[in-house]
């Protein structure tokens, strides 16, 4: 584990201020949004408490369509409680998590991956396809003119690949919230994953020869679920190492049993 100069689990000051002033959301806001009030189990802790005094979902009002158009971003006076470790009484929607969107920034501090990832991926792509292109051109010159079609197809593939790499890399971003790491990736098939620090089993940092040359590393996060997809390529090495340390410490602090 690497030690980093930032020992605290508090979000950066600007973010915290953001949370206080901009869009603090309280239980009331959650309760306003239809189904959510079933999620607030009275004063009961989650777990083994009989659901006697909790609102009965069976008789709860039907989900009204209105709140959906306003997804929990209304500013409300009551400030958010401190981030963990102290357990809140009710589920409190993390106001920042509520602003996570598929594509938009949502006023959040989305971190892009290094643009150098475009370079390494391009190199990998060309290392595969250029020799094939040369071979195809050679074969077209020597064997048959029909093979120009293959060469043209390969050329198209390269151009498409180059375009795709740019699109993909620019689509990757991540966000460290107080309790979750959020990773967005993919453009055509978009995926937003959120991994609670408390669920972290271990963090892997890998750096192949090409990545190393460009000072990047791939951070991979594992939970107890094999379907968790949390791979973050193209992080500058020092950032990746800091991040690993930070993730480990937060995981340690918020760790929960299986």
């Amino acid at each position: 584990m690497t030690t980093t100069p930032q020992p605290s689990f508090e979000p950066p000051a600007d973010q915290a201020a953001d949370a206080l002033t901009d869009s603090a959301v309280t239980d009331d806001a959650v309760a306003d949004s239809g189904v959510a009030d079933d999620a607030v189990p009275g004063d009961a802790l989650p777990g083994r408490v009989p659901s006697g005094e909790a609102p009965d979902p069976g008789s709860a009002p039907v989900v009204s369509p209105e709140p959906l158009s306003e997804p929990l971003s209304e500013p409300l006076p009551e400030p958010l409680s401190e981030p963990l470790p102290e357990a809140p009484e009710h589920p409190r929607v993390d106001p920042e998590m509520a602003r996570v969107e598929m594509f938009g920034e949502g006023g959040l501090d989305w971190q892009p991956v290094s643009p150098r990832l475009i370079t390494t991926r391009t190199i990998t792509l060309l290392a595969w396809l250029v020799p094939m292109l040369i071979a195809a051109v050679g074969a077209a010159l020597l064997v048959s003119e029909w093979l120009w079609i293959a060469a043209a197809a390969l050329l198209l593939l390269i151009v498409w690949g180059l375009w795709l790499i740019r699109r993909q890399v620019s689509a990757m971003s991540y966000l460290e919230l107080s309790e979750d790491l959020v990773i967005r990736k993919g453009r055509l098939f978009r995926q937003v994953s959120s991994i609670p620090y408390g669920r972290l089993q271990y963090v892997d940092l890998q750096s192949g020869p090409l990545e190393r040359k460009y000072g990047m590393a791939t951070l991979q996060i594992f939970t107890a679920s094999p379907s968790t997809s949390a791979t973050l390529p193209g992080l500058p090495v020092e950032i990746a190492e800091q991040m690993r340390g930070r993730l480990m410490r937060r995981g340690e602090a918020q760790r929960a049993g299986l």
């Binding site: 989650p46 777990g47 709860a60 963990l84 998590m97 309790e179 609670p196 929960a256 049993g257």
Partner: protein, 533 residues
């Protein structure tokens, strides 16, 4: 690696102990174990080979028209007998050696097992990582009154501790000892969680000291054996229903249709049909037979905070699962079961996944609505019965359910009204499918991570699917094609619900251990190369 024994431990007959003078001791398995595990096979095969050799020997000396066995010269028989005796001696000696080195200990905070003659292995599972405890009685072992105890931890079958074999009463004692330790660990964690985490670190040592008694204490009756725990409720699968459920199956219909066709075909038409069909029919029937053997005598005993699932005809298996170890529950009904209205129930338990685990993940093979609902409420206290029922039967429009967006009807014209979720106090209730119906109950606390995914078609319809990631197992936590804003809302709200529920699961730090390993981490396995005995 929290502990790695010193290199000398293999030789020492009195291994290291954390507290000198503690009641924990190393115990051996039943002496017959090596033979049940394979020794009998070796003897049988060896005996067969020797008898073959005898005939070769006789045939070589006297030719095919040799004397009758009674006329055999004494020496031939003697050689065969000696060879067999030598084989027996070797097998017995090897069995004795491997029996001698296989030992287990129900220790202070972990269960340990050492075995292996050439490759010494030492496996330990900490009690807080134990997911369930199994007692399996294979047919052969049952004949001689032996049982196998399998302690399952989250790391999958490679990290399970398999104590085979013990006498049945001994097996029960070991199971109860381990389970009472798991309980103690749990109680301790709860006590620590109730106190302030900062002080808990210092207090852990004393709390641990409250449970210094080992297996022997349990055997002497000092510690309340968990077997004495009252069974609150017993739910059985009637044999008749099980048989009917196996008979009432598309395969049966297929066979009923296929057999006469094949017979007619082989009588009047091409003869080759029958032998060709035979393996297919057998292949279809065998899984059913296996399922019958496996699921016969299915009984679920509900104890205060654990389930005991017992089943099996020839091989009996009794699986004890603390309720707190259930990761998720699925209630499903295939389209063929709609008319008799039977439901099947599966559970996800960490570390129990992959091939051949169906028998361990089946919580109830064929149940009626009431039984299944009762069990669901037992497994996940606080889950809303009406909501589960709506999940099983609802066709859309039930209060509390958020279903797929109408805009997604183009992808799922039949099921969009049903596919959706409802929030209950302790779990998310996800329902899917209309013809074959599935309800997944995912406790908020057990969600490992979440994701929202949107493909190009989803984007066109402004919908997205939410996936709740669970530990590997039969239960899936995906909510398909929600309205995009709804998907975001589920992500944010479920994150909050899970975070809150998780705080109850926080395991505090232990005395003297900055926890490098995580609670989900599998048992530790130490394997060493050949050493002198």
């Amino acid at each position: 690696m929290t502990e790695r024994p010193e290199s000398g431990w293999l030789e020492s007959s009195q291994p290291e102990s954390n507290q000198p003078g503690s009641a924990e001791e190393w115990h051996r398995l039943h002496p017959l174990s090596p033979f049940l595990r394979g020794g009998v096979m070796i003897l049988a095969v060896g005996g067969y080979l020797i008898s073959q050799r005898v005939e070769d020997f006789i045939g070589y000396t006297w030719g095919p028209t040799g004397p009758e066995p009674e006329e055999l010269p004494f020496s031939g028989l003697l050689v065969a007998a000696l060879a067999f005796l030598a084989l027996v001696a070797v097998v017995v000696f090897y069995g004795w050696l491997s029996w001698r080195v296989a030992k287990f200990r129900v220790g202070q905070d972990k269960l340990e097992y050492r075995w292996g003659l050439l490759y010494k292995q030492h496996r330990q599972v900490r009690y807080d990582r134990i997911q369930s405890v199994d007692i399996t009685r294979p047919f052969m072992a049952r004949l001689v009154g032996l049982s196998q105890v399998v302690v399952q931890s989250a790391g999958g079958s490679d990290s399970h501790v398999e104590l085979s074999y013990l006498t049945h009463t001994r097996a029960l004692e070991v199971r109860d000892a381990v389970l009472s330790r798991v309980d103690a660990e749990e109680a301790q964690a709860a006590a620590l969680a109730a106190g302030r985490p900062g002080e808990a670190v210092g207090a852990a040592g004393q709390v641990t000291g409250a449970y210094p008694l080992g297996l022997d204490a349990v055997l002497r009756g000092t510690v309340e054996p968990t077997r004495g725990r009252t069974v609150l409720r017993t739910i059985k699968v009637p044999t008749g229903r099980l048989v009917l459920s196996l008979l009432y199956h598309p395969v049966t219909v297929l066979i009923i249709l296929a057999v006469p066709a094949v017979l007619l075909g082989s009588i009047y038409g091409s003869v080759a049909l029958l032998p060709a069909m035979f393996p297919i029919v057998v292949g279809l029937v065998i899984p059913h037979g296996r399922r019958f053997l496996n699921e016969a005598n299915f009984v679920v005993d509900v104890e205060s905070d654990r389930l005991r699932i017992t089943h099996g005809l020839t091989t009996q298996r009794s699986n004890t699962v603390p309720l707190a170890r259930i990761q998720a529950v699925e209630i499903s009904q295939g389209w063929f079961w709609r008319w008799p209205d039977w439901w099947r129930m599966k559970v996800t338990i960490a570390g129990v996944a992959g091939e051949d685990t169906e028998s361990q993940t089946t919580a109830f093979p064929v149940g009626m609505e009431e039984e299944v609902l009762d069990l669901a409420q037992v497994m996940l206290p606080g889950v809303d019965r009406e909501a589960v029922l709506a999940g099983m039967r609802g066709m859309g429009g039930e209060p509390g359910f958020t279903t797929s967006s109408r805009r997604s009807a183009i992808f799922q014209p039949w099921t969009w009204r049903r596919n959706g979720y409802a929030v209950s106090e302790t779990a998310l209730i996800i329902r899917r499918g209309r013809l074959a119906r599935v309800v997944s109950l995912v406790p908020h606390a057990r969600v490992q991570s979440m994701s929202v995914a949107q493909g190009p078609l989803d984007r066109w319809r402004r919908v997205a699917s939410v996936q709740l990631d669970l530990t590997a197992g039969p239960v899936s936590g995906s909510v398909p094609h929600l309205d995009l804003d709804e998907a975001h809302r589920l992500l944010a709200e479920q994150s909050a619900r899970s975070a809150l529920a998780r705080t109850a699961l926080r395991t505090p730090l232990r005395l003297g251990a900055t926890r490098q390993t995580s609670p989900g981490e599998p048992a530790e396995v130490v394997t060493e190369g050949p050493t002198s005995l």
